[in-house]
Amino acid sequence: MSPIDSLRVAYDALTAHLLRTILAMLGLIIGVGAVIALLAVGRGSQDDVARNIASLGTNLLTITPGASSQGVVRAAAGSRPTLTYEDAQAIATPGQADFVADVSVEQVIGVQIVVPGGGNLSTRAIGTTDRYPVVRSTPLTEGDFFTDEQVRSSALVVVLGSSIAQQLFGNDSAVGQPVRISLGRTGVTFNVIGVMASRGGTALGNVDDRVLVPITTMSKALVRFRAPGGTFVSSIQVQASSPEEMALAAASIGELLRQRHKVTEDDFLVQSQQDALDAASSVARTQSFLLGSIAGISLVVGGIGIMNTMLVSVTERTREIGIRRAVGARRRDILMQFLVEAVLVCCVGGLLGAATGIGISLLIDGREVLGQVMHARLTADAVVLALVVSVGIGVFFGFYPASRAARLRPIEALRYE
C-alpha cells in the first residue's frame, strides 16, 4: 500500500467519526497551544528582565557587603556592613582604582514622610551622591539633582521619586516645597529640589516611591550615628570606563578594597550588571521551563486520549481488519494503516494547537494582566518543537493500538461480532 493510499484510508476513517476524532484531538490542541503560549510568555518575561537590567545602565558594577570573617566565625554575605562612603570616595579618587568612570553610593533606610494635609507616609530614603542620575541612567522631569557641593555640605535637600511627588503634591510643582522626613523621633525638614522620571515597576523593585537625599545628610541629620569605620552604605555603584574593561575595573577595585579593609579574603562582592542579568534570566528560564513542563503534561494527557480513541477504533474495526487481512493485507499494512491514522490525528491536532498557541500569544502580548503588562515573544523553535513532539506522540501512542490491530489473527478478526 502506497503512502498516499494509506493517507486516504486514514482520512476516510477519521472523517467517518468526525466528532470522536475532534474530541481525541482536543487534548493535543490544548497541550500544544499551552506549550507554545507559555513558552512565548516565558520568553517575553525574560526579555522584560533583560530590558530592565540594561536600562539600569550597562558597564555598571555593583559592590555589596560580602561575608566577613572574625576569627573562626564566618557570617553570611551582607549580614555585616563593611562598605563605607569613604570606600566609594577612595575608588573615585584618580590613581587609586583603574578603569573607573563614575562612582555613586546607595544607603537605603525606611523613613516616614509627613504629608502636608496631615498623616504619615512610609517609604524608603536612598542616601546617595550627585552621580546617581548618571550611574543609574535616570533623568529628572523637574528641577535639579543635588550637586557635589550640596553632598559635601550635607545640604537639607531632597529629590522625590515620581509617585511620591504625585502623592504629596498632586499635579502641583514639587520643587521648592518643604518636606518633613523623619526617622524614629528625629524629624528634619528638607527642601524639594527635583523630581525623578518614572521608571515603573521592574523585576528589581519599584524606585518611583523612594526619596533621594545626599548620603552625608542622611548620615548626619537622620541616622545621627557615625561608626568608627565611616558612613556605612548598602552598595557602591561604579561605572567602568567601557564594557570591555569591566573585569579589569572589578579586579582593580577589589585590590583597593582589600587593602583598605586590611583583609586577604574579600568581605565584599563585586557584581556586574551582566551577573545580575544572568541571575535574573536564569530565574526566568527556570520559570518558563516549569511552565513548559506543566504544559507538557497536558501533551502527554492528550497522547493518552489519542491512544484510548485508537484502541476503541481498533476494537470497533476488528471485522474490517479481518476483511483486509483476508483480501491480502499483511501485518505491516494493518500496522501502518492505524499508525498513519494516529499520526494524522496528531499532525492536524498539532497544527490546530500551534494556531491556538500563536493566537493566544498574540492576544496577550502587550496587554495588561493583573496590573502587569505581559509580553509574549513567539519563536519558531517553540512552534517547531511542539509540532515535532505531537508527531512523536502520534507514533508513540499510536504504536500500541496499531500493533494490537496487526497482531489480530485473520480468522478471529473475521468472526468478530
Binding site: 500500500m1 493510499d5 476516510d12 474490517e320 476483511i323 483486509r324 483480501v327 491480502g328 499494512d333 473475521l414
Partner: protein, 267 residues
C-alpha cells in the same frame, strides 16, 4: 471422485486441526484428504460443527492445520510465513462470505479496489479493473453506491466482484446464499456458475442446502472432521438463467434446465 491428475489446484492430505481443551484434544478435522482439479465447482456439505468451515479456513490460508499437508497450485503453503500467506490470499484466493463482509461506508468501486491496494497494482489501472469486475457481476449501474444503499443480493455481487478482481485460482464461498431469499439465491448461484465456466475459476462452496449444492459439479460431504462422501453431480442443476447487461440490473428469465422451484429457506 478424486483423481490424481497433474492439474490439481488444491491437494490436501491427511489434514488435521486439533484443539486442546483442558486435557482433552478435540479434532475439528481428523484426516481429510481432498483433491480439487482446476475448473471444478465443488460444494462442501455438512452439518454445523462437522468441520467444513475449518476446512475452508485452512484452504483459504486464514488458519493453519495442526497436521497433514496442503498444496495450492503445486506449492506447499503449510510452512509459509504470515506475510507469504497474505500474498497467497491476495493473488490466488478470493473470498465470498455469508454476511458479505463489505467494508462499511465504502463505495462499491472502492470496495473492489481494496485487494488491488495490497497487490501493489499501479494506481492508474486499479479503478478501471474494479469497474470492469463490477460490470461483470452486473453492477455497472451501482458503481458508486455504498453498502447501506444496496440490497443483500447487490452487496453479495460486490463481494464476488471483489473476490474475482485479482483473477484468483480459487474462489472460496462460505454459504454465499445463506442470507438471501430464493430469487436472489438463484441469481447469485447463476453468477457463480457463470464465473466458473467463463472465467475458469475453481470454486469451493460451503452449503447445507441440497438444491444449492446441486448447482456444483461435485459434492463433498463432511462429518465429524472426515470426508464421508464425494461424488460428481450427474444431473447438474442450472440456476435460473440470468441476462446480465453491462449497465443494467439482472433480469431473471426462466431457464429450461431448472428442476422445479427452488426451496431455499433462510439459514
Amino acid at each position: 471422485m478424486t483423481s490424481a491428475t497433474g492439474n490439481a489446484v488444491i491437494r490436501v492430505r491427511d489434514l488435521e486441526k486439533a484443539y486442546d481443551i483442558g486435557d482433552e484434544t478435540v479434532y475439528a478435522l481428523h484426516g481429510v484428504s481432498l483433491e480439487v482439479r482446476r475448473g471444478e465447482f465443488v460444494a462442501i456439505m455438512g452439518a454445523s460443527g462437522s468441520g467444513k468451515s475449518t476446512l475452508m479456513n485452512i484452504i483459504g490460508c486464514l488458519d493453519r492445520p495442526t497436521g497433514g499437508s496442503y498444496e495450492l497450485d503445486g506449492v506447499d503453503v503449510s510452512s509459509m510465513s504470515d506475510d507469504e500467506l497474505s500474498e497467497v490470499r491476495n493473488h490466488k484466493l478470493g473470498f465470498v462470505f455469508q454476511n458479505y463482509n463489505l467494508l462499511p461506508r465504502m463505495r462499491a468501486v472502492d470496495q473492489v479496489m481494496v485487494p488491488l491496494f495490497y497487490s501493489g497494482d499501479p494506481a492508474a489501472t486499479r479503478q478501471e479493473r474494479a469497474i470492469e469486475s463490477l460490470r461483470r457481476v452486473g453492477l455497472g449501474d451501482r458503481l458508486w453506491h455504498r453498502p447501506t444503499e444496496m440490497s443483500g443480493g447487490q452487496q453479495q455481487r460486490v463481494a464476488i466482484a471483489r473476490a474475482l478482481v485479482t483473477n484468483p485460482s480459487v474462489l472460496l464461498a462460505d454459504e454465499p446464499t445463506g442470507n438471501l431469499d430464493s430469487r436472489v439465491t438463484e441469481e447469485i448461484l447463476a453468477l457463480l456458475q457463470e464465473s466458473n465456466e467463463q472465467l475458469g475459476v475453481t470454486i469451493l462452496m460451503i452449503t447445507h442446502e441440497a438444491d444449492v449444492a446441486e448447482c456444483a459439479t461435485r459434492i463433498v460431504q463432511i462429518d465429524d472432521g472426515k470426508v464421508i462422501a464425494d461424488r460428481q453431480v450427474t444431473d447438474r442443476r442450472r440456476a435460473h438463467h440470468q441476462v446480465i447487461t453491462a449497465d443494467h440490473d439482472v433480469v431473471p428469465v426462466p431457464a429450461d434446465a431448472a428442476s422445479g422451484q427452488p426451496t431455499v429457506s433462510p439459514a
